[in-house]
């Protein structure tokens, strides 16, 4: 059963009095336990699509359903708070907080019920992603790019959500680091039953995913 679904989603930018369509009548669905990748040329609208399913923007027409409920009904802010985790290309961590404190931020924001000892959960998460205690207590500005992206992944997981969305999460990392991160995504989908959707330019990553969509001329088509 689909956990996330788009139904006839249209999105365009107003260009003078012309509408430049980025997405046209897009209808796709995503399931739990699967690792999805979205490929497409630069400027094709991948980030736009991700911003819609992460409720950072709204479709001009059509609807996006989470567990069959329109996210507009759920409330965009609430949906972001309780139902998804987002990972950005530029890690977007709070610079004056330590790694573990960054992981704790969404835990204080979400309405989801969490274990009482949130701090231990945060440390364990970081440890699972590959950051030991000493690094977890460091200000994030003192971590490498790869380490920072791991903190961002841990943060996306911290609220115990079922959907993980990532926009070119390895764009700033070397291949070795990229592979480690992809391995984490695969584990999240297959061992933890998450729905992982990753926008990427890399065919290698796409090949490792369960399903790849190709975005071109406003439509998302399944690859192969």
């Amino acid at each position: 059963m689909a956990i996330l679904e788009t139904k006839n989603v249209n999105y365009y930018y107003q260009d003078g009095d012309q509408r430049r369509y980025i997405l046209k009548d897009t209808s796709v669905s995503f399931e739990k336990g699967k690792f999805y990748t979205i490929l497409g040329q630069s400027g094709s609208g991948k980030t736009t699509f991700l911003s819609l399913i992460s409720a950072l923007d709204q479709p001009k027409e059509g609807e996006i359903l989470y567990n069959n409920e329109n996210i507009k009904q759920i409330g965009y802010e609430k949906y972001r708070r309780n139902d998804i985790g987002i990972i950005f290309q530029s890690y977007n961590l709070v610079p004056y907080l330590t790694a573990v404190e960054n992981v704790l931020v969404p835990m204080s924001i979400t309405d989801n019920s969490l274990p009482t000892d949130v701090k231990t959960v945060a440390y364990n998460l970081l440890d699972y992603i590959g950051l030991g205690k000493s690094k977890a207590d460091r200000l994030v500005t003192m971590l490498s790019g790869g380490e920072q992206q791991r903190v961002a992944i841990a943060r996306a997981l911290a609220t115990n959500v079922e959907i993980i969305l990532a926009d070119e999460p390895t764009g700033n990392l070397d291949e070795e680091m990229e592979q480690e991160i992809v391995t984490i995504f695969k584990k999240l989908a297959h061992e933890h039953d998450k729905c992982v959707i990753v926008v990427t330019h890399s065919n290698e990553i796409a090949q490792q995913s369960d399903q790849t969509f190709y975005l071109s001329k406003g439509s998302l088509v399944p690859h192969e």
Binding site: T47, L50, S51, S54, L56, D57, E77, K78, Y79, R80, R81, N82, I86, F88, N92, L93, V94, P95, Y96, L97, E101, N102, L104, V105, P106, M107, S108, I109, T110, D167
Partner: protein, 488 residues
């Protein structure tokens, strides 16, 4: 890691920014605190001095406005009639009133009281004989003096123009006079012109006798002269005190009779003068004691139609304006400083916070993308600004107050020096009837910058109000933040 914790960590960990914001708030806070301190001090001076001055009014002929062109015919001048004086005295704002008339009389038996080394009045053994209508004696009712022996007049004595007198304890002591004793005075009529040897000859004289019914003591506050530069003032005050102690209160009728005799005798001795040149009617100076200083304005408007042409009301409050000139200018200055610094604080702090927020756009975008409510993001920013502000404001409560002391000491000193010279020049222009012994020095003494709860509360109120206002601009900025644009 909720917004409160984040705010606290942000303040502590981003020290540079916190210190800049603190410095801005501290500097502006000092200005505001100083201005408020001075404001409060000037206000309390105003209250102290106004109570000291009381609410006394008189009605006088206004020479300045009547004689603007210099062509006013003073022989056409209308006088304030007793009827008019009484009508004005019946106004609801009036507590009690008196209208007195004065004669200067000499005596062969009673000697003036003089302060030991004062030879100012050398030779002239004259007394101010004050004929009054208000039996309890206005000066005593107003606390200028109090009866220490005998009694005040009763209304019958006043109404029947009896030869009763109240004199000062000093005068009584000097002349060994007691209640029940009588004193003999002379009304002297002088020639119209100086004689060849440069003296005014006495052309006529007659005796009148007063019986002492009471003895009063001067109760004006005796101040210690602790400063050398007060010497000049002391001489002036001593002179006035001496005059007062040599004043003899009696019924108005007695004085009127003596003055009538005077002018008649003068006319007889100078037949070339007409009665018009020597007005025979008593010229009264009414003194109205009002119920409270707040009544002054209503009193002024109420009696507008009861006064003859060209007459004006003068009150002790007018005196305040000249006495407290340095305080007034300080009060004005401080209110300007206050207004300007509050506006500056709102704008400057608003801009500083806005600049810092632009710098933190990313961080705020993160919270929003994680689904944080805008209210809480706002809350975090407010909290951060508030923590720094409260530290800044709390420190400037004390330093601003301290600063105000220093500043007002210097200001007051220079202003007082300036006005004392002016005051001496103009003191003769003030209404004689309302003369007070409250001086600019009294005002300076009453001026005190205090660190009391009123001031602290007011400052916190204004300070925090300004902070809240100044965060209104950044507030709009946060509400308009679009996380998609920032993050993706």
């Amino acid at each position: 890691m909720n917004f409160i914790k984040r705010g606290l960590l942000s303040v502590v960990r981003k020290k540079g920014k916190s210190i800049i914001l603190f410095a801005v708030i501290f500097v502006l806070g000092n200005l505001i605190a100083g201005a408020i301190s001075i404001q409060q001090a000037t206000k309390s001076v105003e209250n102290t001095i106004k109570t000291k001055l009381g609410s006394v009014a008189t009605v006088e002929f206004d020479y300045e406005s009547a004689d603007k062109t210099g062509e006013f015919d003073f022989s056409n001048m209308t006088f304030l009639s007793v009827d008019q004086i009484k009508k004005i005295g019946e106004q609801p704002a009036v507590k009690y009133y008196d209208y007195s008339t004065t004669a200067y009389s000499s005596s062969k038996t009673v000697k003036r009281y003089e302060v030991e080394d004062a030879a100012i009045m050398g030779g002239m053994n004259q007394f101010q004989v004050k004929g009054i209508h208000y039996a309890p004696v206005l000066d005593f009712a107003e606390g200028k003096g109090k009866i220490v022996d005998g009694r005040i007049f009763n209304q019958e004595e006043i109404d029947k123009d009896q030869n009763v007198a109240i004199i000062s304890d000093k005068l009584a002591e000097k002349n060994n006079l007691h209640v029940g004793d009588t004193m003999v005075f002379q009304t002297e009529v002088y020639a119209a012109e100086f004689s060849e040897n440069g003296q005014l000859e006495v052309t006529d004289t007659r005796d009148f006798v007063l019986e002492i019914v009471g003895i009063f003591e001067q109760t004006a506050a005796k101040k210690e002269d602790n400063k050398d530069n007060k010497k000049e003032k002391d001489v002036q005050k001593m002179f006035m005190d001496t005059e007062y102690l040599n004043t003899i209160y009696t019924s108005a009728g007695v004085v009127n009779a003596e003055n009538d005799f005077s002018s008649e005798a003068f006319l007889k001795a100078n037949p070339e003068l007409s009665e018009k040149d020597v007005p025979n009617d008593p010229m009264y100076t009414p003194i109205y004691v009002l119920k409270s200083p707040e009544d002054i304005e209503t009193f002024k408007t109420d009696i507008k139609d009861l006064m003859p042409k060209n007459y004006i009301v003068k009150t002790t409050a007018d005196e305040y304006d000249s006495i407290a000139a340095p305080i007034k200018s300080m009060s004005k200055l401080s209110s300007y400083v206050l207004i300007v610094s509050v506006i500056a604080a709102v704008l400057i702090i608003g801009l500083v916070v806005l600049l810092f927020l632009r710098d933190r756009k990313h961080e705020l975008g993160i919270y929003l993308s994680l689904g944080e409510r805008k209210g809480k993001v706002l809350g975090q920013v407010m909290l951060e600004v508030l923590i720094v502000s409260i530290v800044g404001i709390t420190l400037s409560v004390f330093s601003g107050n301290y600063l105000a002391r220093g500043v007002s000491d210097t200001l007051l000193q220079s202003q007082t020096e300036e006005t004392s010279t002016n005051e001496q020049m103009f003191s003769s222009m003030g209404s004689y009837a309302l003369q007070t012994d409250v001086t600019t020095e009294d005002v300076a003494e009453a001026y005190q910058v205090k660190l009391d709860s009123n001031y602290v509360l007011l400052f916190y109120g204004i300070g925090l109000g300004a902070i809240f206002l100044s965060t209104a601009i950044p507030l709009i900025y946060i509400v308009r933040l679009n996380p998609k644009k920032i993050m993706m």
